[in-house]
């Protein structure tokens, strides 16, 4: 299977760099899978779980928003925050969600919409974390 180069960078470090078979990216307008030879695309990334497949192994990384760029050189994801699923502190994550919920009351208008949208993304990540932890 053809592979392509994939870089996952966050402001603080280069989280992942290497040849991969497939990357599933949570896009703002829906998840999309990237294989070698994908058309050049720039897409915004929503908070979600990014899956890297290489040599039959899967690696799941939580990204909290960002940008994906596919060019002939490969795929680059600029993530606001990138945490491997093993490393994430679930208690702290739940705390973040609780905090966001508490802050909802202060917001209004389009800011409220954004906050609700973001909260939903976070909740769906937590849900997925819960379901993957079971098996």
């Amino acid at each position: 299977m053809a592979t392509f180069h994939f870089d996952l960078v966050s402001p603080e470090k280069l989280s992942f760099s290497g040849e991969v078979d497939q990357v599933d990216v949570p896009g703002v307008e829906g998840d999309f899978g990237v294989l070698a030879g994908h058309a050049p695309v720039v897409a915004a990334v929503r908070p979600g779980i990014l899956t890297i497949t290489s040599g039959g192994t899967h690696q799941k990384i939580i990204v909290l928003g960002g940008l994906a760029e596919m060019s002939e050189k490969g795929l680059t994801v600029l993530a606001d925050v990138a945490t491997s699923i093993q490393d994430i502190d679930r208690a702290q994550f739940a705390e973040t969600i609780a905090e966001m919920e508490a802050k909802l009351a202060e917001k209004e208008g389009s800011e409220l919409d954004h906050a609700i949208e973001r909260l939903d993304h976070f909740k769906s990540i937590e849900h997925q974390l819960g379901s993957t932890a079971m098996h």
């Binding site: 966050s10 915004a44 940008l67």
Partner: protein, 292 residues
């Protein structure tokens, strides 16, 4: 003339100072290594961000609906100078050279009849600018309690700047920091961040790839521009941090050497005085014996 005892005390105290500066130099060296690694780790992200932005922005800059962060407010009456300095001194000219650059810029802007506002990040810059521009400083921020500079600190600053921009408090924002070139050379730099100055993609890069955008280009741009602001500030903070330790290291190296010179000189004088005194005593004894 100082007595021998005074001289001994003085030499001992210079030695103690030398020990301190030596230790500070070593601490700065090890922190510099960490700061440099952090600055390097942040580079790929900033570079990619630059590439993507310049790709999209060159296309969007000409269009009438371009966001204000890119196109500007169409005015350049009010300038915000975002001055990033260190929290501590004892680092040679590090803080004052950044402040000097910002001050020169401010004075030349004022001479042109523009209005200038300051946003100080870091205690030292605030203290120096306060003397001259107390009323123009609209905000200042200490990063003293921050042990490890995180992206979140930069985001914080970016948010504050953006809030002021949205409230139309200024038209142009310039970032002042010290670029880390090497341990002995840090260059105070001014970089305009609002409106963003986009470098045209290199001409030899060939035809740029035509991307598909998801969602639309302008929507990506509106998401990206505030983010880019934070990235630029983050990069400036990291560069600053590395520069600070570099400057401190060379300042402390100088101080250690100076202390060494001083100890040598003082020891020489001390020994001469001591010998002179012994000679004097001997002469007294001999002439006393001769008189008998």
């Amino acid at each position: 003339m100082a007595s021998l005892k005074d001289m001994r005390v003085r030499i001992a105290s210079t030695k103690a100072t030398q020990k301190i500066t030596k230790a500070m130099q070593m601490v700065a060296a090890s922190k510099l290594r960490r700061a440099q690694t952090a600055a390097e780790a942040a580079r790929p992200y900033a570079e990619k961000m630059d590439a993507v932005i310049s790709n999209i922005a060159t296309a969007a800059a000409g269009s009438p609906g371009a966001p204000a962060l890119l196109a500007g407010t169409g005015n350049d009456q009010v300038h915000l100078l975002l001055v990033c300095t260190g929290e501590r001194g004892l680092s040679g000219a590090f803080n004052s050279s950044i402040v000097r650059l910002a001050r020169e810029r401010a004075l030349s802007l004022i001479a042109q009849g523009k209005e200038v506002k300051f946003f100080c990040v870091g205690r030292k810059g605030y203290e120096q600018l306060r003397r001259q521009f107390d009323k123009q400083i609209v905000e200042h921020l200490d990063l003293k309690s921050v042990r490890q500079l995180g992206f979140i600190n930069a985001e914080d600053i970016a948010k504050k700047v953006l809030a002021r921009f949205d409230a139309s408090e200024f038209d142009v924002c310039t970032l002042f920091y010290s670029r880390f070139k090497s341990v002995i050379s840090q260059i105070p730099t001014a970089q305009q961040i609002i409106p963003l100055v986009v470098e045209a993609p290199a001409a030899n890069a060939g035809p740029s790839t035509s991307y598909e955008y998801e969602p639309e280009e302008d929507e990506i741009l509106t998401r990206l521009l505030p983010r880019n602001l934070a990235v630029q500030i983050f990069r400036a903070l990291l560069e600053n941090n590395a520069s600070f330790y570099g400057a401190q290291m060379s300042a402390m190296d100088n101080a250690t050497r100076n202390a060494g010179d001083m100890i040598r000189k003082q020891t020489l004088i001390y020994n001469r005085t001591r010998q002179a005194q012994i000679t004097k005593e001997l002469i007294e004894i001999i002439s006393g014996a001769e008189a008998l």
